[in-house]
């Protein structure tokens, strides 16, 4: 897919790939073999009829393709951009045995963008009002999916969001250059048009509890509060100025638009030599943001090797193209600071790979005496999140596991509390947009069934 040249794009926050033209989309769509027993559908967490929508693109019916996508996925413009397709649908594409797989993600993005840009977004049929009210806590991919499905089923839906803008991780976490905020906004606007009520700046668990919501007339509640408590390394010097959690760094830059300080009020400190700890998508988002904020050197410091990095292949590739340096098999052990409390260096130790651990990945072990100091003034810790305790802590009878995640049936999202469902990162721990959307899909079906049970 055509995209901005690396030396250009590191100077702006605009989206990297331009997206397909109609011609390119058709050509790519025609590569599909339209298998009798398509493997790709099984590879998709929300079971999109992939050959079905691709066929419509090949025939030039782009609006039809978008509609087909929306039958099973409420957020195709988002998922087309941020899904790890290489581990899902594209991984099992029959073509990938010999050639490149069909670019399913790019085609999904094309159809959704086409529909949005031509303004031909049709309001779907909304079932007769059931008179039932559902509260959704959190407006990330899980919450938005549940909201979209339930409103179409005729229920009254209110989404509560703690931040001042709806979208959850799609607005505070994923940067503009990977997911333009206008796209998220149009998804939210669309749901509002269908009748979903959004209540922002509304921290459930603090302002009102789950029980308060029931008392005020909601018949069912979905909790999709995400994995919102950043993990730190717990090594000396971690509270020096210049050390951020990825959540803070990305929230300042994305949601609060600190990249345009002082036009926007929120500042961000992003230095000349920036190290990002971690190997996931959030780490790639952070390191590429650092470059765009003016870093001379931006490093990924990861304690395992390249093969164990959980980030999408595309993100790693883009980061490399943009000049990010990768320090594999390296772990920080201590931060050094100046008199007045600013980070001036990070002491690291080299690692080697040992025996596989419980995750099946080879466990990194430190190489004695290999310590050295990295010259950095900014460090971004992107080693994952724990679950946010605000809702579980204030909801008696809601079971959580030892990591603080809400216990929920994977098929229905049903929790230990009657009428309370949950899905997304608050149940699984840090995962992907599409898995959260998939959980939302299943929960919506279960909530609908629950509400219709007399």
């Amino acid at each position: 897919m055509p995209e901005q040249a690396p030396e250009q794009r590191v100077k702006n926050f605009k989206e990297v790939p331009f997206g397909y033209t109609e011609e390119l989309a058709k050509i790519e769509a025609q590569r599909c073999l339209f298998c009798k027993k398509p493997q790709c559908i099984a590879g998709c967490p929300v079971e999109i009829d992939i050959p079905g929508f691709i066929k419509l693109i090949a025939e030039g019916d782009y609006i039809g393709a978008a509609k087909k996508l929306k039958e099973t996925n409420s957020l195709p413009a988002v998922c087309g951009r941020v899904c790890p397709q290489e581990d899902q649908c594209e991984k099992v594409c029959i073509l990938s045995k010999k050639y490149e797989p069909v670019a399913i993600g790019n085609l999904e993005r094309f159809a959704a963008d086409y529909e949005r840009e031509t303004g031909e977004i049709e309001i779907p049929k909304i079932e007769k009002s059931t008179g039932k009210k559902v509260a959704i806590v959190g407006s990330g991919p899980a919450g938005l999916t549940v909201a979209g499905d339930l409103i179409k089923m005729g229920h009254q839906v209110t989404v509560f969001e703690a931040l001042h803008k709806a979208g959850g991780v799609l607005v505070y976490g994923i940067p503009e250059f990977r997911l333009p905020k206008a796209i998220v906004q149009s998804e939210v606007d669309y749901l509002a048009k269908l009748g979903v009520e959004f209540k922002t700046s509304n921290v459930i668990g603090m302002l009102e509890t789950i029980d308060d919501l029931f008392a005020s007339g909601y018949h069912a509640i979905f909790i999709g509060t995400g994995a919102g408590l950043p993990n730190f390394m717990r090594i000396p010097g971690e509270n020096l100025n210049g050390i951020y959690s990825a959540n803070e760094y990305l929230t300042r830059s994305n949601l609060m638009k600190a990249y345009s300080f002082p036009e926007n009020d929120t500042p961000i400190f992003s230095g000349k030599n920036v190290a990002v700890l971690g190997g996931g998508n959030t780490a790639m988002d952070s390191v590429r943001t650092a470059l765009r904020l003016g870093a001379d050197n931006a490093y990924i410091v990861y304690r395992r090797s390249r093969t164990e990095m959980p980030a999408r292949k595309d993100e790693i590739h883009h980061a490399e193209q943009e000049g990010v340096k990768f320090d594999f098999l390296t772990a920080p052990i201590k931060f050094h600071g100046t008199e007045d409390g600013w980070l001036k260096g990070m002491e690291c130790i080299r690692m080697k790979l040992g025996e596989p651990d419980e995750s099946g990945r080879r466990r990194p072990v430190p190489v004695e005496g290999s310590n050295y100091i990295m010259d950095v003034d900014t460090v971004i810790v992107a080693i994952g999140n724990s679950s946010n305790p605000l809702v579980p802590k204030t909801t008696p009878g809601l079971d959580i596991n030892k990591w603080g995640n809400i216990t929920a049936d994977p098929e229905t999202g049903q929790t230990s509390r009657r009428g309370v469902f949950a899905g997304g990162d608050i149940v699984t721990g840090g995962a992907t947009v599409i898995l959260a959307a998939g959980a939302g899909k299943r929960a919506a079906r279960a909530i609908d069934a629950y509400l219709k049970t007399p």
Partner: protein, 242 residues
Amino acid sequence: MSIADLDKKNGILAIVFQEVGKSTAKLGTLVEGDSLADVVGPLGTPTHIEKYGNCVCVGGGIGIAPIHPVAKALKEVGNQVTSIIGARNKELLIMEDESRAACDNLIISTDDGSYGFHGFVTQVLAGILEKGEKVDFIFSVGPVLMMRALARVTLPYKVRTIISLNPIMVDGTGMCGACRVTVGNQTKFACVDGPDFDAHLVDFEELLKRQRMYLKEEKVAMDNFISRMDQSAHHHQSHKPS
């Protein structure tokens, strides 16, 4: 800036703020009938209130506001409450009447001696403790330097001393970790674990340094704001009919 009072019946939340930077300066331009786009809360863990016996609430500067509801609540459950409130000078002293009404005994101090005791609130507190008066619980809010001094004053007497911290925050729900403070050698998030902490366990040096992280940017934002205000004042003036 902080919550100074709450009137649940009439749905009124009283907030007191001092214009020190761009956001508070901008708040200062609001007039009756204006509104804020977003107000979020309540956040954090509520101050623990119980019957301790003799309590002292110490508020410095704008910190007088947040100790007010705590003094009120402590008195309501039957504590004997002394409040010590202080400011740099008489002009800057706020909420004197409200504070007096909320406690049993109010002591005022000013740094320059223009009103009440000439000196710091911490000196007043030290005097009380030195006299051997029985103090069971101390709650205090004020500038970090004041709270550090206060922690040093009360430590030898082993009086339970709780302070309310206000480090830099972004979302206030535990999502970002900007507000981390070291308390008893452990990292805590002031927004969810606090804002109240045991004064004798807080790493004040670290807190002071973290508070200064954006001094440069705060000044830029404020300077821009002032020059824009000046420009628009000038603009209005030049359009006045002569």
